[in-house]
Every structure is written in C-alpha cells, then in structure tokens.
C-alpha cells in the first residue's frame, strides 16, 4: 500500500471529525506555542543582557589591587596602592598576542568649572588605548596622543552629561578651556553618549585625560586605581588573564607562597554569571511549557484510543475489504502524526506571533532561535509517533470478525 494512499485515508478520516481533530491539536498548539514564546523571551533577555555587557567591552580585563593581608590586616581595595606604572611596563614587555590594549586608570572626583557653570564629576586618567578597551567612541574632535601622555598635556575628552552641564547653551565645547580642581584643561574631543550602564550608572558623566596629567597635576600620586586591558578575542581572554597575572606577580616580586596582591577579572566571567541566571529562567519556563506539550501528547493518545474504540467497526470493514494489520497501524499512526504536526505548525505560527506581540506591547526583548522552532517541531512529530503508536497497534491487532460485529 502506497504512502500517498495512506496519507489520503488518514486525511479523510480526520476530515470526518474536524472539531475533534482540532481539539486534540489544541493541546499540541498551546504546548508548542508556549515553548517557542518562552524560549523567545528567555533568549531575548539573555541576549539583551549580553549585548549591553559587551557594550562595556566584552574582551575587557580589569586588574584591581587587592590586599594580600600584610600582617593579617585586610584593607579595602581602593586604599591599597599596589598597582604601579611598572606593572604596565611589565605587561607591555610580554608583547602578547592575546592582549591588544592596555591602559592605566587613575581617577579622582572633583568639581569641573566652565564660566558660570560647575558640575561635580570624575576625571579619569587613561592612555589612548582606553577608548578601544571600553568601546568608547569620539563624536567630535580628536583623541589625545602618546605625546600628550608623555608631556602631561592638559587636554581632555568630555562625556555628554558633563557637556550638558557645563555648556547648557549648546555651544561647541571643542577648543574651550574648562577647569578641574583649578587646573585648566582644553577640551579636544567629545564622546559618543553611551547612556546608563546595566547597574544604573551614568556612563556619560566622565572626563578623560592623559593619566600622566592626572597623576602629576591633580592626584600627585604614583599608584594606579586599576589597569584595564583588552584581550584580542573573547576566547583568548583566559590566556591573557593568566599572562597578566604572571607578569604582575613577577613585577611585584611575589614568591610562590604569597597570594596575589591584585585581582584580574574578565568581562566574560561577569557575562557568564549573569547569563547563567537568565539561562536558568529560560530552562524553567521552557520546562513548564514542555510539560504542557507532553500533556498535549497524552491528549492525542487519549483521543486516538477513543477513536480506535469508536471506529472498531470501521477497522473491521477496512480489514474485510483487504486492509492488512500494518495498513491499519499506519493509518492511525499517520492520523496521530498529522494531528501533532499540523498542531505543531499552527503552534509555531502562534508562538512566533505571540512572541512578537509581547515584544511589541510590553517592549520585552525577544529572540526567536531557529533551533527552538526545529526542536519543538521534531518533539511534535516524536510525540505523534510515541503517543499514536499504542492505540494504532491496538487497532491493527483487532480481529476483523470481532471488529465487524462490535456494537
């Protein structure tokens, strides 16, 4: 018996009972739609967290000072002055392929003044690499050069918040002189606004200046608050971290017995921590949706059982006019698969459209992975076979004589 004939037979049988076929499908439709919508929401939020973290520089490596408990006294990280410019030199000396950017960070709070306006903000002393590491971009003007660093040049770059507060009349800040802790700085560039960070911090409330200028003219210190580096790729950040640790340990002359007096953190760690929380949520939601898909499958099994009992005479007739056991088996199996696959298709459409509706009305980020569609579709087909087989087997084992006389 050809498969086309079987499909036709199964299709005609379903057509005779449209409402029941639809109600059976409903379980699958809701299950699949729920799985797809849940995965879209979960993946969407995960993706949005990832992308906003990557915006801070996904390959970024942060080196912070850390107490190695001299004399058993634990000190707060920022009060420790273990990071020095020598550490930068040591890392530079590595000429590692895994590191493509390195910048010291020296920052201090203070009042920025321009004419009659003033604004409390932070000045951060960095090297030109810093912009690449933090994925900052210039909107206007130019970046300070290595020469500016060497010559303690009093130049700076401003973030949007600072500009808004010091130049409320909207005049062009480039070339103007602002004062920070009474030191005049010439504005040579304007940064592209980045908005708030994930932690609610205003990323545009910054002034960037050469680190030498900040160290020498403002803070009058020779230690660094932190060092920022960037790995060549996200994958090489682990190797870069190891190399940096080794270089700093050497430059700090730490013996093998001593613990690090600094810590190296990668953005990748942070991303994985946060996205694992989000993954857990996705798994949870998908599991709940998966349960409803399973219940849909049981619905199919139930209906197929009822259908086999109800259509016992039909089965007897089919057998008496020449249907073999396997023809009957295939017919009922195909009916179950047709129900589950049709339900699956409708479910996919419904799931995708409800995900878009959610993102449209609630403004939630969504991401529909093809894999979620393929997986739920395959699960559907398997559900059809799995839950359809037993009733179909029962039908095919009927004795035609008994089946024909069944009341």
């Amino acid at each position: 018996m050809s498969i086309i004939n079987l499909l036709k037979i199964a299709f005609r049988a379903l057509k005779r009972n449209k409402l029941r076929a639809f109600l059976t499908m409903l379980g699958i439709i809701i299950g699949v739609a729920a799985v797809i919508a849940m995965m879209a929401i979960g993946e969407g939020s995960k993706q949005s967290i990832r992308s906003s973290l990557s915006g801070m520089g996904s390959n970024m490596i942060t080196i912070m000072p850390q107490s190695n408990e001299p004399g058993g006294v634990r000190l707060q990280g920022s009060s420790i002055q273990t990071l020095k410019l020598e550490d930068i030199t040591a890392i530079k000396k590595l000429q590692s392929k895994n590191i493509n950017g390195l910048s010291p960070v020296v920052s201090t709070n203070g009042q920025a003044i321009k004419g009659g306006y003033n604004w409390p903000t932070t000045i951060t002393g960095v090297s030109p690499d810093y912009l690449n590491i933090r994925q900052l971009k210039l909107q206007d003007g130019i970046l300070f050069s290595e020469n500016d660093v060497k010559s303690f040049a009093k130049v700076c770059l401003l973030g949007k918040t600072v500009i808004d507060n010091l130049f409320p009349d909207g005049s062009n800040p480039i070339g103007q002189i602002i004062r920070f802790k009474n030191i005049p700085f010439q504005v040579i560039g304007v940064l592209v606004p980045k908005g708030q960070s994930n932690f609610g911090q205003d990323q545009d409330d910054i002034i960037l200046a050469p680190y030498t200028t900040v160290q020498k003219r403002i803070t009058a210190t020779n230690y660094l608050q932190s060092i920022y580096a960037s790995a060549t790729t996200e994958a090489s950040s682990a190797a870069a971290t190891a190399e940096i640790s080794e270089a700093i340990r050497e430059s700090h002359r730490l013996t093998a017995a001593e613990t690090d007096d600094f810590q190296v953190r990668t953005q990748a760690e942070l991303i994985s921590t946060i996205s694992s929380t989000s993954s857990m949520l996705t798994v949870l939601l998908t599991a709940i949706a998966g349960i409803s898909l399973f219940i849909g499958g049981i619905g199919i099994m139930n209906i197929m059982y009822v259908s086999v009992t109800e259509r016992t005479r039909e089965i007897g007739l089919r057998m008496s006019i020449g249907a073999r056991g396997q023809d009957v088996l295939m017919q009922f199996l195909i009916e179950a698969i047709l129900i589950s696959i049709t339900g699956g298709i409708i479910g996919v459409v419904l799931g995708v459209s409800s995900a878009y509706l959610i993102s449209y009305f609630l403004n939630w980020p969504i991401l529909i992975a093809e894999s979620s569609i393929i997986i739920s579709f395959v699960v559907c087909a398997i559900t059809g076979v799995f839950f359809g087989y037993y009733p179909a087997k029962k039908a095919s084992n009927l004795d035609p004589i008994d089946a024909l006389r069944y009341e």
């Binding site: 037979i9 005779r16 089919r318 249907a323 073999r324």
Partner: protein, 248 residues
C-alpha cells in the same frame, strides 16, 4: 466443465472455549461454480456465520480444505488473507458498514486504496462505473446519512463490485430493509448474476432464497440439503406484483 470458484472439502471448524470444544462445522463438502447464485440458509447456531467467515477468508478452517479461485486458504497468513479478500471477495453486510460523513464515491473507492497496482485515476473511474452499475451515479457525492437504507446498501454493493471480485459474499444483506427494498436489492443481485457474477448470499429468509439458483441448508454444522432451485423467482416480477405502497 465450468470453472470452480470455490471448492470446499470436509471443512471443520472448532472453537476452544475454556475446557470445552465447540464444533461449529462438522465436515462440510461442496463447491461453487462461476456464475452461480447461491443462498446459504440455516437457523441460528447452524454454523452459518462460521461458514461465512471462512468463505470470506476472515477465518480459517480447523480441518479440511478450502480452495478459493484455486488458492488454498489454509496455508496463508493474516496479511495474505487480507490480500485475498482485497482482490477476490466483495463483501455486502447487513448493516451496510459505510464510512459515515464520507461520500458514496469515496466509500466505493475504499477497497482500491488497499490495492497498490491501481492508480488514483483508475480508482475513481472504476468507482464511478461501479456506482453506475447499481444505478447510483447521480448520487456519488452524497454521504450515507443523505441516502435511504436501500441506497446505502446499493453503495455497499458498488463497493463490493469495485475490485472485480470472483465472488460477492452477502451477509443478510436484506436484513435491515423492508420487503420492497429487499426485492429491489435482490433484483439488482439477479441482474449482476445475469452479467456473470458469482453470488453467495447468506440469509435466513426462505422468501429471499427463492430468488437464487441454488440453496444450501445448514443444520447443526452439517449440510442438511443442497438443492438446485428449479423455479427461480424473478425479483423484478415480484416487485411488480407487490401492492402499491399506501404511504401516500
């Protein structure tokens, strides 16, 4: 010598029920030649149904031989029996057994779906021809609920004819019908028989048996009488002689 469609020799069928053995058929021997119109009669418990099941290849004899169109049924498995039913036998049941909510045409097509060698066009063509031969060509798109009992049984007969069987096997085919409609069905059967179809008609009504060419009487699992019907009644004449219906 006419071709033997059916050759039964010393056929026995026993059922084991718990520790008892019920002997439904106790050794039956007869044959049927092409073109015969046979009625098998008998009261309930005579083994009529058991014999019908065996003739229809739904059941196998415990002992004895049954050759259908030259094929020994005894050695066949379930699937081979199904194949035999599909190509050699046309069933007509008392309760019509049409698929509900399915057009007459699709009902008639049904047996051909289980025959791989027949294409979709051929299937439809043969189904239409079959419906024409039972004079229902006009109603091929009606579902069973839109047809009268007699018309439903004619659809069932068309379904039995569609696979060009060597034998039509009718099981109390007029049992659910009134006298007039029964005669109409018998007239159709006689017409088909006149065209050369072999018909085996199981009934318990002597009235119906009179339309056949030969009657086999069963009693307690044995053949009580096997007689050629000398004066076969014409169903058409019987129909004409029926008093006008006073329904209207």
């Amino acid at each position: 010598m006419e071709q033997k469609i059916l050759d039964i020799h010393d056929l026995k069928r026993e059922f084991v029920m718990g520790d008892q053995t019920v002997r439904a058929l106790k050794g039956i021997t007869f044959d049927i030649k092409a073109g015969e119109f046979i009625t098998i009669m008998g009261s309930s418990g005579s083994g009529k149904t058991t014999l019908l099941n065996i003739l229809g290849c739904l059941d196998k004899p415990t002992e004895g031989s049954y050759l259908l169109d030259g094929v020994d049924v005894k050695g066949l498995n379930r699937d081979e029996l199904a194949g035999l039913r599909n190509t050699k036998i046309g069933f007509v049941f008392q309760a019509y057994n049409l698929l509900p909510r399915t057009s007459a045409l699709e009902n008639v097509e049904l047996p051909l779906f289980y025959n791989k060698t027949i294409t979709a066009e051929e299937r439809k063509e043969r189904a239409i021809k079959s419906l024409e031969s039972v004079k229902l060509a006009e109603r091929f798109d009606h579902t069973p609920s839109q047809l009268s009992g007699g018309q439903q049984q004619r659809v069932a007969i068309a379904r039995a004819l569609v696979n060009h069987p060597v034998m039509i096997l009718a099981d109390e085919a007029t049992g659910n019908l009134d006298t007039r409609t029964s005669y109409e069905i018998m007239a159709l059967m006689q017409e088909l028989n006149a065209e050369g179809k072999t018909i085996v008609f199981v009934t318990h009504e002597p009235d119906i048996a009179a339309f056949s060419t030969r009657t086999i009487m069963l009693r307690d699992g044995k053949i009580q009488k096997d007689s050629i019907n000398q004066n076969q009644r014409s169903a058409k004449e019987a129909l004409a002689n029926l008093p006008e219906s006073d329904d209207y």
